[in-house]
């Protein structure tokens, strides 16, 4: 199918245009239109999954046309193993989020229009292979998020929205600067990432380090890595359920995706030098710190937010391992975390919609009131703590196994965090879902069909990938091994440069 990536990326944008033309009062029609434009995108994603060639390292389904020719800016999109996993994740989560947003009742038109714009931005970031195009899509994502959090969010939504926006934007400035340095510093001046990847030698090793650092800070804000993470708890807590899901499920992956695509691909020598402190050690710290902070939370959503920080630490550690298991585990963890955390936020949304608060100590014994809900929650919680048989285990074990070869000490610290994770998750499960039922909530409605429909596909994926992880691993393996090779080659030339 020709131009499949362009279709996938811009179909939601088309949907946004259609929605803007609809009358604002017809909520049902607006929601159906949104669904009607996100489902085909998912369909295209599934087609891609089937048709993708898993054995090559080159970019597939490439569309490349000049855009702003005088600056050699091109509309250059394509996917490899790394991006297809993220594209699939995005395509999967968006219709589910549209379903989860069914309860929005004010500003419906604006909400879904912004959401579809957001989807275009997200898909564009993952498929863009021209740095300028990448940057444009990166910025396109920010504005809808700002409004989605700031208008449809919770009590402190304006604070959370502006904090998110300014923080990410500050990172984007570094991204812009680095992009320009890369553009002007290489001969001939090009923005295409495939060409930049071959020209990193134009910079001295110190300059490469600085560039890497600048790019890293921009992406670290998104991961989010300590200490650039404090925007996340606020953004997650205040955002509406579906936006939290998309934020945790997709946006956080852009940070690590960016590091893999740009830092690893374009600046491999610096990657090899800086990986220990800035990826492995920082990642391990994320794991432990996120778990500890999660344990102390009383707001259910904030707890899940900190658990996200903890889980993304595994991605960072795995990336830095430069072993096949490590990097595969890292990207698999990106995918798995997207599905598992999406489930967690959807589940929190279920109870918040009914009780209108998220205070952990304010519930109790929900298992007696909403047993099916409890069952799904237990599945999600055990997936989050990496119970073998579910997908989280595979990615965590691959990461830790891969990391042991280079960083055994850090692996020991990271592995010990599984106890902390089990601790806070089981404790929370006990306080909220087990125990004597809280009289205030005896009449709460059980989870309904729509909410189940948003959760079950994710639950199915979590279970299936635990038994058959190669559904995803086969997609990503070839490209990730290639990335590892690039870094190793870069490390060798880096040594020569000194």
């Amino acid at each position: 199918m020709d131009h499949v990536l362009t279709w996938m990326t811009f179909l939601p944008l088309l949907g946004m245009a259609v929605i803007l033309c609809l009358p604002a009062g017809n909520h049902a029609r607006i929601k159906q239109t949104a669904l009607g434009f996100t489902l085909p995108t998912l369909g295209l994603g599934i087609w891609l999954f089937a048709a993708f060639d898993r054995g090559v390292t080159s970019f597939q389904y490439v569309d490349r046309v000049p855009w702003i020719a005088s600056y050699h800016i091109e509309y250059f999109v394509g996917i490899d193993g790394l991006s297809i996993a993220m594209v699939l994740l995005t395509a999967l989560l968006c219709p589910l989020c549209v379903l989860a947003s069914w309860g929005i009742d004010k500003g419906v038109k604006g909400y879904f229009a912004l959401f579809l714009l957001l989807e275009t931005g997200m898909l564009g970031v993952f498929v863009a292979l021209d740095f300028f195009l990448f940057y444009v899509f990166w910025e396109v994502m920010l504005l809808p998020m700002y409004f989605l959090i700031g208008i449809w969010g919770g009590a402190r939504r304006e604070y959370a929205a502006i904090k998110f926006f300014l923080y990410t934007f500050a990172g984007s400035v570094l991204l812009l600067l680095s992009m320009l340095v890369l553009y002007f510093g290489t001969e001939p001046h090009r923005f295409a990432m495939t060409e930049l990847m071959q020209r990193s030698g134009s910079f001295g090793i110190e300059c490469q380090h600085l560039l890497w650092l600048a790019l890293f800070v921009a992406f670290a804000i998104k991961i989010p890595a300590f200490p650039f993470h404090t925007w996340l708890p606020d953004a997650h807590v205040e955002a509406p359920t579906a936006i939290s899901v998309i934020l945790a499920g997709v946006l956080l992956k852009m940070g690590t995706y960016g590091i893999l695509r740009i830092n690893y691909g374009i600046l491999p020598a610096a990657t090899a030098d800086l990986a220990f402190w800035l990826l492995a050690a920082l990642g391990t710290f994320n794991i432990v710190y996120g778990a500890l902070c999660a344990m102390a939370q009383t707001d259910l959503k904030k707890l899940v937010a900190y658990s996200s920080i903890s889980h993304m630490g595994y991605v960072m550690l795995g990336m830095a391992a430069f072993t096949p298991q490590g990097i595969n585990g890292a990207v698999l963890q990106m995918f798995n975390h997207g599905t598992i955390t999406a489930m967690l936020f959807l589940l929190v949304g279920v109870i918040y919609d009914r009780a209108h608060h998220r205070n952990i100590d304010g519930f109790g014994g929900l298992a007696g009131i909403m047993p099916v809900y409890t069952g799904v929650t237990a599945l999600a919680f055990f997936a989050a703590m990496g119970l073998p048989g579910l997908s989280g285990f595979i990615s965590e074990v691959l990461v830790l196994l891969g990391a042991w070869q280079r960083y055994p000490g850090l692996t020991i610290v990271a592995a010990s965090a599984i106890v902390l994770t089990a601790g806070y998750l089981l404790w929370t499960l006990q306080r909220v879902w087990l125990g004597a039922p809280n009289e205030k909530y005896l009449g709460l409605a059980e989870i309904n069909a729509r909410e189940l429909v948003t959760l079950l596909p994710l639950a199915a994926i979590v279970v299936v990938l635990g038994v058959y992880p190669h559904a995803v691993l086969d997609l990503i393996n070839t490209s990730l091994l290639h990335l590892n090779e690039i870094v190793k080659a870069g490390a060798a030339t880096g040594l020569a440069l000194r």
Binding site: Y289, A296, G368, G389, L398, P408
Partner: protein, 681 residues
């Protein structure tokens, strides 16, 4: 050795899994529609079928030559990344086959027992879903052909244990016990996975990175002499994996979860916390015996911890009042014996004790369940007594199992425990001190077990009168398993009769091919039979002495328990009663410690890190305000001053516009004159 490829073995774990799924998803509806009987059938059938298949596997193995006894069932590829290649594959050799029979056989009996025991519970279907799921996980653990799949089963049984301990989840004390079990197990699991990683990479460095057991065994020799952080790699790996075993098999210091696990239904305690899950650690060491044989330091640690646990747990069991707690500590203690066996390299002795212990401990737990149910869920032994007439079947099976546990001659426990004690003394890794601790433990074991028997079944009845009126024997579904298990406790021992007593130790012979490559200790025939007889008689005598003490205290009332309790100011008694205050210490150090750390982290995050972020925002706003003021007062002032100055200048210059022509003409004339003068000069 070439394993025989088969495809039926996969159904051994998969049938219980199917049962779990059916009961888990449709159980509530089925129970409403067809009643609890159907649920029971749906639950027992898969396990019974699995038992039949295990027998088939056993017979298939028997049909093979001893050196070729291995069946391999590869279901599918699981993970193949880099040099790591593990499949969903099941491996049946004499060792796993033994465990298979135990898990499915005794598990099946416990399933049958549960159909009657849990009859009054509404969540009947959920119980059986979890019980089937547990059976599945345990079978995966036993059958896995690689370490990662074994870990899936390892944690899977941990999950089911959590679910079943906290089965009556409305009571926080139950769910807390479940959480405690899972978390303490996870501490052990940490060690386990780290050991797996170290093993994989050590093997990879030697040429072949693998986690498949038979391949590890083939390449184990290449690990000789490898060092990591100054320690031999094999020693490190085995030690880390032993940490995992410590957690799963409740050895010191990670034993604290097992007594609390008694919060769960009694059949659960029988199955999971006596017969199967807790033996996983022993099984794992047996599986990897070839590695442990290369690490004498670790073996010493294992033996030491095993012995310490055997002794300490027995002391605690001596003073407990809850009927199940006594048995829980007894389990911990007996597991200690199994680890002593593993620690001295007596692999088959340890596995033998695992098998016999499964029989009599399950029997004891189920018997206690029978008592508890008859007394309407009374578990305090101080409120029991004289029940042997009311509960005859329970009493006799309990007594037989007790005799087996204490090592009464010719019972199963006698043969297995004797084997361990003999190996503890005579093995090159063992020694007399180990034997002495073991014998002391045996004495204590006899003491507390007979204490239990006397308190529960003999003497005057201390049962609450309301309850006493309704005491009656349990239904057949419960007593039949008891009888079968008691029979096993007597008969299974004859599989392992040592050469000393004329037997051929068929059990050890059966397992010999599995352990052949390890540094198995030399068979008995080489050692001193006289010494062996002496040790055997001594240990029996000590056990008998312990039983006698219990008899004197609790039956004949010649000695008083209170004297012992009050000895040395009651301090030692209180220490024992409170389990050496270990739970309190752990909570204070780890529980409170982690919570404090967590709160500190959250405070740090919200106040310091976020404080910096918000502070930077505040500073930016302040700078903006200053800049605004600067803009207003300074920059704008300049502009304004410029305007004002221009205006003032304008005012002054405007005065030239007098409107008076004469003035203008004066100016013109003056200017012309000036120009003329200038031109002249």
């Amino acid at each position: 050795m070439e394993p025989t490829a088969v495809t039926f073995v996969r159904w051994i774990p998969l049938l219980p899994l199917a049962g779990a799924i059916v009961n888990g998803i449709g159980g509530a509806a089925i129970q409403r529609r067809f009643g609890k009987g159907t649920i029971g059938v749906l639950a027992v059938t898969p396990v019974a079928a699995a038992f039949v298949l295990s027998l088939v596997a056993f017979l298939r193995l028997l049909a093979l030559v001893p050196e070729e006894r291995a069946l391999l069932d590869v279901v599918s590829r699981w993970i193949a990344i880099g040099s790591l290649h593990v499949d969903l594959a099941f491996w049946v050799d004499p060792l796993s086959c033994t465990l298979l029979l135990v898990v499915t056989g005794i598990g099946g009996l416990i399933h049958v027992y549960s159909t009657a025991y849990m009859r009054d519970d509404d969540a009947y279907w959920r119980y059986f879903a979890y019980l089937n799921l547990f059976t599945f996980a345990m079978l995966v653990l036993v059958l896995a052909d690689n370490l990662l799949l074994m870990f899936v089963g390892w944690e899977g049984v941990g999950f089911c244990s959590w679910a079943l301990i906290g089965f009556w989840w409305r009571e926080p004390v139950n769910t807390t016990a479940g959480n405690k079990a899972f978390i303490v197990n996870r501490v052990g699991d940490c060690g386990f996975v780290l050991g797996v990683f170290a093993l994989f990479w050590a093997l990879a460095a030697s040429g072949q990175g693998t986690l498949v057991f038979r391949e590890i065994q083939q390449h184990a020799a290449s690990l000789e002499g490898r060092v990591l952080w100054g320690m031999p790699v094999v020693g490190l790996v085995t030690l880390l994996m032993f940490v995992g075993a410590t957690g799963k098999s409740a050895q010191i210091p990670l034993h604290v979860w097992l007594p609390d696990a008694m919060q769960g239904p009694t059949p659960v305690s029988a199955l999971i916390h006596a017969a199967t899950m807790v033996t996983a650690g022993v099984y794992m060491i047996a599986r990897l015996h070839f590695l442990y044989a290369m690490a004498p330091a670790t073996l010493a640690v294992i033996a030491g911890i095993g012995a310490a646990t055997a002794f300490v747990a027995a002391t605690i069991g001596l003073v407990q009042h809850d009927i199940k707690r006594v048995l829980a500590y007894s389990t911990v203690s007996q597991l200690g014996y199994m680890f002593v066996a593993m620690g001295v390299g007596a692999w088959s002795a340890g596995v033998f004790h695992l098998v016999t212990h499964a029989f009599f401990k399950a029997c004891l737990f189920l018997g206690s369940g029978s008592v508890i149910r008859a007394l309407h869920h009374e578990q305090d032994m101080r409120k029991m007594g004289g029940l042997r007439t009311a509960l005859p079947a329970t009493f006799w099976t309990f007594l037989i199992a007790t005799l087996a546990l204490t090592g009464a001659p010719l019972s199963a426990g006698f043969f297995s425990k004797d084997e361990i004690l003999w190996q503890a003394w005579s093995s090159p890794h063992g020694g007399p001190p180990l034997w002495m601790v073991g014998v002391a433990g045996a004495g204590l074991t006899a003491c507390y077990m007979f204490r239990q028997v006397f308190l529960v079944f003999f003497g005057a009845s201390r049962v609450d009168p309301h309850v006493a009126a309704h005491v009656h024997e349990s239904p057949a579904a419960m007593t039949l398993p008891l009888v079968l298990l008691a029979a096993g406790s007597l008969l299974v021992g004859f599989l392992g009769v040592p050469a000393l007593l004329g037997g051929g130790n068929r059990f050890a012979a059966w397992l010999a091919p599995v352990f052949a490559s390890g540094h198995a200790p030399a068979p008995h025939a080489v050692h001193d039979p006289g010494l062996e007889w002496t040790l055997m008689v001594t240990s029996v005598a000590v056990a008998a002495g312990g039983a006698l003490v219990a008899f004197l205290i609790y039956q004949r009332r010649v000695l008083s328990a209170d004297t012992f309790a009050a000895a040395l100011g009651g301090g030692p008694y209180r220490v024992l009663l409170h389990k050496y205050y270990l739970d309190e210490i752990y909570w204070a150090v780890f529980g409170r410690g982690v919570l404090m750390l967590a709160r500190l982290g959250a405070w740090f995050d919200a106040r310091v890190i976020d404080g910096i972020v918000n502070g930077s925002a505040t500073i930016t706003r302040g700078v903006a305000r200053l800049e605004g003021r600067f803009d207003d007062r300074v920059v704008d002032a300049i502009v304004n001053r410029l305007a004002n100055g221009t205006f003032a200048l304008g005012t002054r210059v405007r005065r030239l516009q007098t409107g008076n022509i004469n003035t203008y003409l004066y100016v013109v004339v003056g200017a012309v004159t000036l120009v003329l003068i200038a031109k002249l000069f």
